[in-house]
């Protein structure tokens, strides 16, 4: 089952959901609106079988994403839950501008609590701003016992490149 906005806010008070910093105006009927963090990684090429990214800080006047390029961003908020599974998506107002916030990897595992890496891909040139409200996270009840998920990405708070072994 998917949590209602009210249920998200109650679960946060009970510490079953972490959203930090939190602002109740960002609650939706079935999700919470997250903001864009200021760090971004820009894909610059391929070397030795590994994609190379350059680190960049999005200035307050914004930064234009170009179509066909791949960028890694991150959520401004620390988001997660030890009780619920999550789906991290864009928001409709941003999808309507053609900006993907992840590449078919929306599932957030129960027990992951961190600033999430966003796989950003623009269909049209689009200007993005630090801390803009850019996407949504929804929370889903689990069926069955929860095991601790061991992930190399758990401790990350900045955009993090793929750690898949070659």
């Amino acid at each position: 089952m998917i949590l209602s906005g009210k249920a998200i806010s109650l679960a946060r008070e009970a510490n079953d959901i972490i959203i930090e910093p939190y602002n109740k105006s960002q609650i939706n009927p079935n999700s919470y609106n997250y903001r864009l963090g200021e760090n971004i990684k820009i894909y610059t090429g391929f070397s030795d079988g590994i994609p190379i990214f350059e680190d960049y800080v999005i200035p307050s006047e914004g930064f234009v994403l170009l179509p066909g390029q791949m960028y890694l961003g991150h959520t401004y908020e620390k988001l997660g839950s030890k009780k619920y599974a999550m789906s991290l998506i864009g928001r409709s107002s941003i999808g309507r501008l053609g900006l993907f916030m992840q590449l078919s990897a929306n599932l957030g595992h129960t027990t992951s609590i961190h600033c999430w890496t966003l796989e950003m891909f623009a269909a049209k040139p689009i200007r993005i701003y630090p801390k803009m409200i850019i996407g949504q996270i929804s929370f889903w009840t689990n069926c069955g016992e929860v095991s601790e998920f061991i992930s190399e990405y758990i401790a990350t708070s900045l955009p993090t490149e793929s750690l898949l072994k070659r």
Binding site: S4, L10, S25, P29, I89, G95, R96, Q102
Partner: protein, 177 residues
């Protein structure tokens, strides 16, 4: 929990789900198939800036079809008016459409509970593909919510036709942080 096709039909009959027009031939095991309306929107702004309203033009898909080129991005919408005050809708492409390289939404699959209208599709082509009016393009599934419900009453309520992004409208909220 996700509703089965037969349960979607039952919920439509008792008016807890609205799908209009409704035809039970469009039900599948866990979803209902949505059709593409003939109106499309193309942005004409050189750079989209969420702080300002984008410029755009509308056009109609002819009966003979319209070719979307690789990399094209348009907004379309479902012919059907959909919504529910009891279940949460999620939008998906039909697998047959995705296999042609066409996205029907851009990571925005979640529809708020209480939102009613023609749903806007965010069409992005990774290969050249021909769009026809009324093609069966997407699916909507319905999910059971947990917790007290506050219904959607936002800026896209009762959408008719494809609706451009209105993100500029809440930019003052963005700055109030």
């Amino acid at each position: 929990m996700i509703l089965t096709g037969l349960e979607i039909k039952k919920q439509v009959e008792i008016k807890r789900i609205k799908i209009s027009p409704f035809n039970s031939n469009n039900l599948s095991t866990n979803s209902y198939d949505l059709h593409l309306d003939s109106m499309l929107i193309r942005y004409t702004s050189e750079i989209l800036d969420p702080r300002y309203p984008p410029s755009y033009e509308e056009f109609t898909i002819p009966e003979t079809g319209f070719v979307m080129q690789k990399g094209d991005f348009f907004l379309g919408c479902s012919k059907e008016v959909i919504g529910s005050d009891y279940y949460v809708p999620l939008i998906h492409a039909r697998s047959g459409i995705a296999r042609l390289g066409l996205f029907v939404h851009v990571t925005a699959d979640l529809i708020d509970i209480g939102s009613h209208g023609q749903t806007t599709f965010q069409l992005y082509a990774t290969l050249p593909v021909i769009l026809y009016p009324n093609v069966s393009i997407a699916q909507v599934s319905f999910w059971v919510p947990e917790g007290e419900i506050e219904l959607y009453d936002g800026k896209y309520q009762r959408s008719k036709g494809p609706i451009i992004s209105k993100v500029h409208q809440d930019w003052t909220d963005h700055n109030d942080r």
